[in-house]
């Protein structure tokens, strides 16, 4: 017996350390999902109206635009890049679609095309700066952010674009078409259109990143660009692809936002950059992925939506939301960077 007692000393410490690392491993993989479930349960218990189908649709509706932008940012991150211009792109697309219909009296379909082209234009500038001019991604897309935020102000003379606004002394000729407005306010089998689009894009990006050779190449570049190049991957092309996907996602988000607002608000896209980056970064911590991934980004976006919705129902002041989002992001970052090392 004495022998076992003396032996238990080191064994006990090492086994407790092992246990700690097991706990960290579980927290690393499932921690964030666990917190999300706890939040859902707590909100449901405190406010029965929270756990209803209409409210679920409200939550989804509220995260759809952020989620779509975040999916694009996620793709831009896979190659080791970072699209800071996504929010500005959303804003520019809102203005362009509004101008197309209100100022130039063109159809909703034209507005959609113009919006998508705007997204590709933003992507082209990003590619020119990062891939061709070899400016570091973070500062290059910061520059693009300012460029397109400013450009949206210039083309509209610094004013919001709303139906009936005065242009050169006369009322603007056009208005938002019904079809275009449907993109923001319509439903498909009771589900809001933006939510359907978000779901479709999420599935597409998931398949792209996890099940196609293009996704594999994107991740290879993010993991080790030189190894990717020597393995025969055209690095420049894939980095351009990543920004193109990001630009298109931001454009789609901008179109949906414009349709929902029914007008081109100056600065409408501004809040979307930080929220989408937060969603993508929170996604790193989901299921221990530790890299940008579509599923994690969707969870990250939902996380933010659920938290804001629940807090609003609990009558928490709106101005506390930013702080809570920050706390959430910090928690997720600690999960993905610190717990991984312990586990």
């Amino acid at each position: 017996m004495t022998v076992t007692v003396t032996d238990a000393g080191p064994d006990a410490t090492s086994s407790s350390r092992r246990a700690a690392s097991r706990v960290a491993a579980v927290a690393y993989r499932y921690g964030l999902l666990g917190v999300l479930v706890v939040m859902l349960v707590v909100f449901s218990l405190l406010r029965p109206a929270f756990a209803t189908y209409p409210n679920a649709l409200i939550v989804l509706q509220s995260v759809a635009v952020v989620g779509i932008v975040a999916l694009g940012v996620t793709v831009s991150m896979t190659t080791g890049g970072f699209d800071l211009s996504a929010g500005a792109c959303v804003g520019a697309v809102v203005m362009v679609t509004a101008l197309t219909m209100v100022r130039f009296n063109l159809t909703g379909a034209t507005a959609v095309v113009a919006g998508l082209l705007t997204g590709l234009l933003v992507a082209a500038v990003n590619v020119l700066l990062t891939v061709v001019a070899k400016v570091p991604d973070l500062v290059a897309t910061l520059g693009t952010l300012f460029l397109f935020q400013g450009l949206a102000l210039i083309v509209t003379g610094g004013q919001s674009v709303a139906p009936g606004m005065t242009v050169d002394g006369a009322p603007a000729p056009g208005r938002y078409t019904e079809g275009f407005a449907w993109l923001g306010g319509g439903t498909i089998a009771s589900v809001p259109v933006p939510v359907v689009v978000f779901a479709l894009l999420a599935a597409l990006v998931y398949v792209l990143l996890n099940h196609t050779r293009w996704g594999r190449a994107l991740y290879a570049i993010g993991g080790n660009p030189e190894a990717a190049r020597l393995a025969g991957i055209r690095v420049a092309r894939y980095r351009a692809l990543a920004y193109a996907v990001s630009g298109v996602c931001a454009a789609v988000a901008g179109i949906l936002l414009s349709a929902r607002l029914g007008r081109g608000d100056v600065g409408a896209g501004d809040p979307y950059l930080l929220q989408s980056v937060a969603a993508a970064l929170i996604g790193f911590a989901v299921l221990g992925a530790n890299r940008p991934n579509a599923l994690g980004t969707v969870v990250g976006a939902l996380f933010i939506g659920v938290m804001i919705n629940g807090m609003t129902m609990l009558n928490a002041p709106y101005y506390a939301q930013t702080f809570v989002q920050g706390a959430l992001l910090v928690g997720a970052l600690v999960t993905s960077y610190t717990l991984r090392r312990i586990s």
Binding site: V207, H211, T212, R213, R216, A217, Y219, A220, G223, N224, E226, A227, A228, R229, L230, A231, G232, I233, R234, N290, R291
Partner: protein
């Protein structure tokens, strides 16, 4: 006034990086330190500069023992180290004067003024003819190097360690550096000069210490000649190099080796051209077959390894392995990267199966059936966290896709194939590649290239950081593969080419200096070529030290008096200055 290293050993885990090194560094003397990759040079420098402590043995200065808790201790004791990367030692954006005075920007006082900085800079480097107000990045590399060295000397250096100071310098710049080093030595500083460039060692050093596998195998005293130095660096080429007795069978059972693995190894100097004396373990066909048969897969005309090298040509036949060897910095990687499309062709032209071949990137090379496995596994081949399977299929993703989607089954099959072919040992294809040992990781990143049925395999240092058992596995598969493809293998250790290559191309400081059949690649010929000694001239006998008879060196292990801690046996350097 002498720094003494006495019986210093360093053990990392199971690896013995240094075994019982004894070396004296005397004031005014420039001692060269030379050895191949992994010989222990860096470890010795780290110990001397206080970055790591020896496992056993002592350092002393004038008989007083030194114990360094860290680099600052070593600096306080007068040991100044200038590291290989020059730009680690200068602050970009600051002026020359500011860089010279980093240790005490304005002497005493609170405020830094330009005048005070200039005055301080002049006192740091009185003899340095550099524009003090110029931004440091506007200077050539050699001038930046001079600044770093001047600063090191100004810290009251007693021992100056220069770690490959010329690796990024041109030849002219290196000459300027040599003058500065000689000047320092004449002031009574002991200099330890680490370099791969033999010409510099030869002209600059009073004494040369040669490390091999963590042991001090020889020291030579000036006048120096390159050939014996290289012979000592490379070691006995006749020893069994690649196949340990415990290695798995080295050839498939259907094609037994024509010779037992070690019986015919060790070409003798008298072997006639084309003889099969060099045949060894990896071979399942006589060497002559590779030489005679097979179409010319790759013909290179007027190519260069590096811009300053001379142009040369080379030919690689199907069914043959061309070994490329040379010391570190000879331009092997640069040459292979051009063949593999990883860097643009410097000059000349390439023909692949008779067709012009000028790949603009690795992808273009792969498209033409040329695959290139780079030298640095971690930096150039491994994607952190990825599975073995994903590493195997990365170059061939299109093949594993069906209607745009990757098929797991096809990827798994490819990974299993590589695992079986090379005998990869580890937790399987789904595990992250980091879970494998270095040798098994190497099998994976080499093995993936065979999946493409390449016409030409270009392998840069395939045995780097690989244990002996894995070496045997890799050598066997490469040799087997060479029955269908042409293979180019670069290595700075010619032992690895024994039994693998049919011909050996030797590079020296960027130029091709010889190509010969493996049977003629005798230790002394390789040593002569690798050290840049003209082939006609027999090794010049060296005055001052008795042991330089080549016959003594080539016969296997170096004579005892070479392997012994040299400072006790060798005469003093020709000039005075020792205590």
């Amino acid at each position: 006034m002498t720094f003494a290293v006495t019986s210093v050993s360093k053990v990392y885990g199971a690896t013995r990086a240094l075994s019982s090194i004894t070396l004296e560094l005397r004031p005014g003397e420039i001692v060269g330190l030379i050895g191949t990759n992994g010989a222990g040079k860096s470890t010795l420098i780290k110990i001397l500069s206080g970055a790591t402590a020896p496992t056993s043995g002592t350092l002393s200065y004038e008989g007083r023992p030194l114990a360094f808790a860290g680099p600052l201790d070593a600096q306080a004791a007068g040991v100044q180290t200038v590291h290989q990367n020059i730009d680690d030692g200068v602050v970009p954006g600051a002026s020359v004067a500011e860089n010279l005075t980093l240790d005490s920007p304005a002497g005493r006082g609170w405020f830094v003024t330009r005048a005070r900085v200039r005055a301080a800079a002049s006192s740091v480097a009185p003899g340095l003819a550099l524009p003090l107000d110029a931004p440091v990045e506007s200077l050539p590399a050699s001038a930046r190097q001079q600044i770093v060295i001047a600063r090191a000397l100004a810290r009251r250096a007693r021992l100056l360690i220069l770690d490959e100071p010329t690796s990024t310098l041109s030849e002219v710049e290196a000459t300027a550096l040599a003058a500065q080093v000689k000047e320092a030595a004449s002031q009574g500083v002991a200099v330890l000069y680490v370099s791969h460039r033999l010409s510099e060692i030869e002209t600059l050093c009073d004494r040369v210490a040669v490390l091999r596998d963590g042991e001090l195998v020889a020291t030579f005293t000036a006048p120096l000649s390159r050939e014996p130095i290289v012979t000592a660096m490379l070691g006995p080429l006749t020893a069994p190099p690649t196949t340990p007795p415990t290695a798995p069978p080295t050839a498939p059972p259907t094609a037994p080796p024509t010779a037992p693995p070690t019986a015919t190894r060790g070409a003798t100097p008298t072997a006639p051209p084309g003889a099969v004396a060099g045949v060894a373990s990896f071979r399942d066909a006589p060497a002559g077959e590779g030489l005679a048969g097979g179409r010319e897969v790759l013909v290179a005309e007027g190519v260069r390894a590096v811009a300053r090298g001379r142009a040369f040509g080379l030919r690689v036949r199907a069914g043959a392995v061309l070994g490329v060897t040379g010391l570190v910095g000879a331009g092997k990687s640069e040459l292979l990267e051009q063949l593999g499309g990883a860097r643009p062709l410097l000059s000349g032209r390439l023909l692949l199966d008779g067709e012009p071949y000028r790949p603009k990137d690795p992808r273009a090379a792969i498209g033409r059936g040329v695959v290139f496995a780079p030298e640095e596994r971690a930096a150039q081949a491994i994607v952190p966290g990825w599975s073995v399977r994903a590493h195997v299929t990365l170059p061939w993703l299109r093949r594993h896709s069906r209607s745009g989607l990757l098929t797991r089954r096809s990827e798994t099959a490819a990974a299993r194939h590589v695992i079986d072919l090379f005998g990869v040992r580890g937790p399987g294809h789904d595990a992250p590649i980091e879970a494998l040992s270095g040798g098994n990781q190497q099998k994976v990143v080499l093995g993936r290239w065979l999946a493409g049925d390449p016409r030409l395999l270009v392998l840069d240092e395939p045995f780097r950081g690989v244990d002996v058992a894995a070496r045997a596995d890799i050598g066997r598969v490469v040799r087997d593969r060479a029955r269908e493809s042409a293979v180019v293998v670069a290595t700075s250790d010619p032992q690895e080419l024994r039994g693998l290559a049919d011909r050996v191309l030797v590079l020296y400081e960027g130029s091709a200096v010889g190509e010969l059949p493996i049977a003629e690649a005798t230790p002394e010929r390789l040593a002569a070529l690798m050290s840049g000694t003209p082939p006609q001239r027999p090794a010049a006998p060296m005055s001052g030290t008795p042991p330089q008879r080549p016959a003594a060196l080539m016969s296997g292990t170096p004579p005892d008096h070479l392997a012994a801690p040299a400072s006790e046996h060798l005469p003093e350097p020709p000039h005075e200055g020792s205590a």
